[in-house]
Symmetry: C2
Subunit: 328 residues, 2 copies
Amino acid sequence: MKKFINDADRLLHDALKGVASVHSNIVEVQFSPTFVSRKQRPSEKKVVLISGGGSGHEPLHVGFVGHGMLDAACPGQVFTSPTPDQMLAAASAVDMGPGVLFIVKNYAGDVMNFQMASEMMDCPNATVLVTDDVAVEGSTHTTGRRGVAGALIVEKLAGAAAEAGADLAQCKAIGDRANQTTASMGVAFTSCTVPAAGRPTFEIEADEMEVGVGIHGEPGRRREKLQRADLIVDELLTAILRDLNPQSGAEVLLHVNGFGGTPLMELYLLFERADVQLRSLGLTPVRSLVGNYTTSLEMAGASLTLTVLDSELKALWDAPVRTSALNW
Amino acid sequence: MKKFINDADRLLHDALKGVASVHSNIVEVQFSPTFVSRKQRPSEKKVVLISGGGSGHEPLHVGFVGHGMLDAACPGQVFTSPTPDQMLAAASAVDMGPGVLFIVKNYAGDVMNFQMASEMMDCPNATVLVTDDVAVEGSTHTTGRRGVAGALIVEKLAGAAAEAGADLAQCKAIGDRANQTTASMGVAFTSCTVPAAGRPTFEIEADEMEVGVGIHGEPGRRREKLQRADLIVDELLTAILRDLNPQSGAEVLLHVNGFGGTPLMELYLLFERADVQLRSLGLTPVRSLVGNYTTSLEMAGASLTLTVLDSELKALWDAPVRTSALNW
């Protein structure tokens, strides 16, 4: 295992100390229990958004804390759910009265722990479950569809709604709608290595790829021989569009997400093919995002995420955001 | 070789088409000859900055085109120098009269081609050579020190000076000073694979790292057994500080750069150690940057870059920048 670490048990702590130092104008980090919250509280009372999940997907979610997006994030150990005490402490620190919205990727541990926190809280709260991965129904540690890069979309859109003064029910409705109109699928060329495990999560041959892989290296639809990038994009888009079934003429947000170990040049190449293909199908990618946002440590591979936009969602996407990973 | 490509010869073209689509509000891309320039010309006449070099280091340099930084970038094929016709076309497209400043990383091919372009131009022009890598004196394709992640620093500081109305000599002086007061060194855990070559640039054992590696996989100071992250940071810092020899009490910019295949968590961990160590030595990292900015395709590894700041350089760093990769 080749990693910059001192001790696998201390990796999260050491990394979060770095986050706190580097982004001290945007976030602050608490330990015992661990959560990351905005440095500056919003000037007006608003619904607060809290997300979280296992670490190893950075910048998700810690990098999305800030104006226009999350109020706090609860990172667990690598690929390990955070615990209810983290969520309770985060909620207690950032709650302003109008309610707490949890945004939770659909993994059994995350769902259970956020639900426990929700039940233990006195303040109004609601949860949006992110289930954008169309690859498989049910997976390792998941009942139903996995939540992957669509979490970023849900957090941005619901975060903008909260910033604009939407109440808890409205924020949840935006989050649910963002999730329903978002679909993702990815492929992996290599496995990542979880530091505490010390060896690759899965084995894969030098000429193979995992089509429909999960962001923890969960199996996808099938293992197959490497293909040209254009064919990979076409297959991912076909699966995504079969799920979303957008109307011809629809405007979409196209997000190409790298899993960590794939160069930016390749992600832009994937975008270009997807953009051309979508336009040929009468869909217009009017907004885009390309980069490593929902990673799987150093896994080589990428996913495509498509969100069907309407004027409301487009305006929410365009609303200002000031986090360490998204900033406009 | 596991990459998202259709044809190694078309990778750069396809990726740049993606860049043009995704960042259409910031840049535009020309082909034959190939260069990337700002979408919007500056409102006032100013010195224009042009950089370039082999591709495969993205977001460098293409991602640094925009307000407050570069006016144009000339990408060559992967790890291959761009040609003088690209530089001449870029200069012709963006020149506003007060002069053209080339920012060139010190590799023989880049230096020769930018020099040829410089000699063929009618307009006032000057060149800043970036030589921040303290690992070795002379390397594969390099006489003297290599230019690595310090290019970002030089481009940001000289770019801010140009935006503020500095003349050509002043912009060159800022760029030269930024280079002189900046030093970098990195380590690699794995090799990258150049698409046209199809196999790793170098072989390395599972328990080894290359200390002082170049951003094309050039040899560093030595190959040694993997070490704890803290010890790696300490060794890199020692080499950098020996070169810069900053006064106690100095303010510094600390940049942790990932080479592409190292997770963000690990980069933050490296930052934290470096930050603590610098403070213990009486140096204060008052500005910071952590992420994959000067990459070597999918190489796993990272570099540290330190710039000694004075009030002028600090203000230039803080000046607004609006590019696809840096935005504040």
